[in-house]
Subunit: 504 residues, 2 copies
Amino acid sequence: MTPQEAYKELTQRTKKIATLSSCSSVLAWEERTYMPRGGAEHRAAQESLIAGLVHEWLVDPRIGELLATLEASPIVKDPDSIEAANVRETRRLYDRETKLPKELVEEFTQTTSLAQGEWADARKKSDFKHFLPWLEKVVKLTQRVAECYGYKDEIYDALLDGYEPGMKTAEVVRVFSALRPELVELNKKIAHSKKKPDSSIVHRAYDKDLQRVFGESVAAAMGFDFNQGRLDVTTHPFCSGFGPGDTRITTRYNPNRLNDALFGIMHEAGHALYEMGIDKEHNFGTPVGEASSLSLHESQSRMWENQVGRSREFWVYFFPQAQRIFRDALGDVTLDAFYGAINYSEPSYIRVEADEATYNLHIMLRFELERAIIKGDLKPADIPGEWNRRFKEYVGIEVDKDSNGCLQDVHWSAGLFGYFPTYCLGTMYSAQFFAKAKKDMPDLAKQIEQGNLSGLLGWLRKNIHQFGSRYRAADLGKRVTGEVLSHKPLMDYMNKKYGEIYGF
Amino acid sequence: MTPQEAYKELTQRTKKIATLSSCSSVLAWEERTYMPRGGAEHRAAQESLIAGLVHEWLVDPRIGELLATLEASPIVKDPDSIEAANVRETRRLYDRETKLPKELVEEFTQTTSLAQGEWADARKKSDFKHFLPWLEKVVKLTQRVAECYGYKDEIYDALLDGYEPGMKTAEVVRVFSALRPELVELNKKIAHSKKKPDSSIVHRAYDKDLQRVFGESVAAAMGFDFNQGRLDVTTHPFCSGFGPGDTRITTRYNPNRLNDALFGIMHEAGHALYEMGIDKEHNFGTPVGEASSLSLHESQSRMWENQVGRSREFWVYFFPQAQRIFRDALGDVTLDAFYGAINYSEPSYIRVEADEATYNLHIMLRFELERAIIKGDLKPADIPGEWNRRFKEYVGIEVDKDSNGCLQDVHWSAGLFGYFPTYCLGTMYSAQFFAKAKKDMPDLAKQIEQGNLSGLLGWLRKNIHQFGSRYRAADLGKRVTGEVLSHKPLMDYMNKKYGEIYGF
């Protein structure tokens, strides 16, 4: 068998796996958008059957043989080639999928499934003690899982790698340690500022249908192609790429909160533009036909949501449009008042409701705690105390009850350790990429003021989207910006923006 | 291996196949309801992958071994038992699926796929000659397929059996020969009648959203459970049972034709009630957990659409409700005028737009022609002449062009020979079942007048739905009504109804 033949067989296999797996994406999307509740049990059976098949096909020893052949061949000589990237990332997936004993996977699936139910009950009653024994079980199982994956430096690396290939805990610590004090400082300035925007403007009455119309027009202006995607309604918004030519986003409309759906749609459309910009026609079903990492995905959603959507330039063009659609709510509002309102910031308990200035403090707190839990430095029983202490220190307010604190997120009950930091890494990348885009296109701000968002999209496609997983996030970041990941572009941007709005 | 073990393994296998196959149902439903057009190519790849797997699992020789073991065991001793029925119908499927050589399946799939495109072009131009070479290819391939399946009496049996297990061509000929002259006679009376209802009433302006609201209320009154199903919009209406707890129906709304969506929804909801009434919780994935045949399915849709939905009793209760919803269109209309309008009948070219009195003439003509084509008694080239001659004789009008004649239906280009007669068989069953239900429940008409449709649904569940494929259609018909399939109940019902409306 020549390396070319091995490569062909490998990609045929991964393509078949990806096609089957994409059927599950459709099932899961439909479950959350339209499925009547009576269909839940059978839908679970459908998804579980496909998940089982996908796993079975992925751990086929033949894939191991093909990888071994290819790794010893000249095909991987240029590490930046598409072929080398596909071999590298398929190896990573294959190893992760084959390293866990079947019994452990089953125990993990069962325990986290039950733990999520117990967590929901505990959150309702704000009763951490009720959740504690389940959390302890999940932590122990997650530690066993991480041991199976293996690691060099520290155990948390093994989990982080599942969401952010190649990323190390030490690197996260490096950038978070630099970011946190500066962000805490910024939030103190905001809190102590005498000048405050009037946030009530965005809490007026906004008709849901009109929110949809405006949101769709913004998504279309961003470049979201409605011939190759849809916007639907779900309780928890998400983006799902089904495959070439079909990427779905969802949102939820609150008739008294303009920000939720508006920036939610821009966020999910940002994810979708990444999916739409990958060359799936040629590469679907291989790693190069997929996004590189969660942080890179988040860099795209956060860039459109914040760097673009919460910029003054953007609203120079779009505010008059918004005024035409929301005549009653915005007719008497000035551009600057609106710009202030959408950027209003104050400390709050719940991560998913946090504003741009406080959000990453929520994330860093979670990262610090979950890293300590997995290492065994922090006992699950001690989480509430440690959570509340740090929350006061970083965000500046006392947690009143655990449902507003350590019980608010589903992640730990589901065994999703290592996921949280990607949100903050992505935000940092978004600022770093956007700063570079501005440098490359000195008139970018002017383009955006004119409602022309295609320059930015073109830059993103050329520099980021088209590559899929060809480069890992850190490597791509360096290729694009010439620098390693840094908190500086994010803090420069935030200090400038909030300084102007809050007058410091 | 004990027969019990073999039975358990067989049903586990068929359940797995059915679960995977039901994923395809979701994909196909989503394709027709919500999918953006850019997703078409990838969706085809998803569906083709699943179809291939389903076929592969179904022709596994292990299924043949298990069937052989079971057929020689006491498990099938009682032919009316669930076990015997599951073995019988799985054998039928297994044989049909294994009898076709792979090359033939591929050639058939490719040719019919192309032929459907050519047919669409030919219909647009009303150019039969353009379609002829493709039709000839499809007919030859279909004959080869039928030869592979095998038959005792005549070749058409082999095709009919695909849609109507156990049904023979001779039996279709028996009932159609009795029905046709009487139906032609009835239509002549209608055509020559001096008394005509005013059909313009149902062609007034009916708001699409209100049509949906009213249609959903009727479906709910029929017993369609919106916790276990949905109603959506598609170009071509259909019903699809995804599995336990999830059955979807679709319709299309025409703002100037009340009948289309209204009776369309009742028709599809009738199909859905059958799906919902099968004991899928216990039997899903085995033949007994599925509908018995296309004609039985059509008996349910036609019963709700015509026997119930086009009855005067039904509108005694529902017409005042319709008047409240469609105030402008129906405010000045009497119950009798409305009842006449929804039952207005006149000859027309297009089957899917035909009314209750003429519809089955369209079907019988198609059956006669396709039987002759498959037997080789009629050359494809001679179809237009033969079609137009019989159409004039049965329906009473001259076909003006082939797009209004033999080019109107997709079926033959798709190789669907043997499908058409089930529409008419189902209509006959619907009348025969409904007559028996009336006999069993002498106050059924009164129940319906009071808007109470649960008595009928209960009767259908008890006598028909619950059995799934436990009995074949003809056997179930005899069990329920004590008689073989007959045209008489249908003609009695139609002569009485149209006699009253048209005054003869």
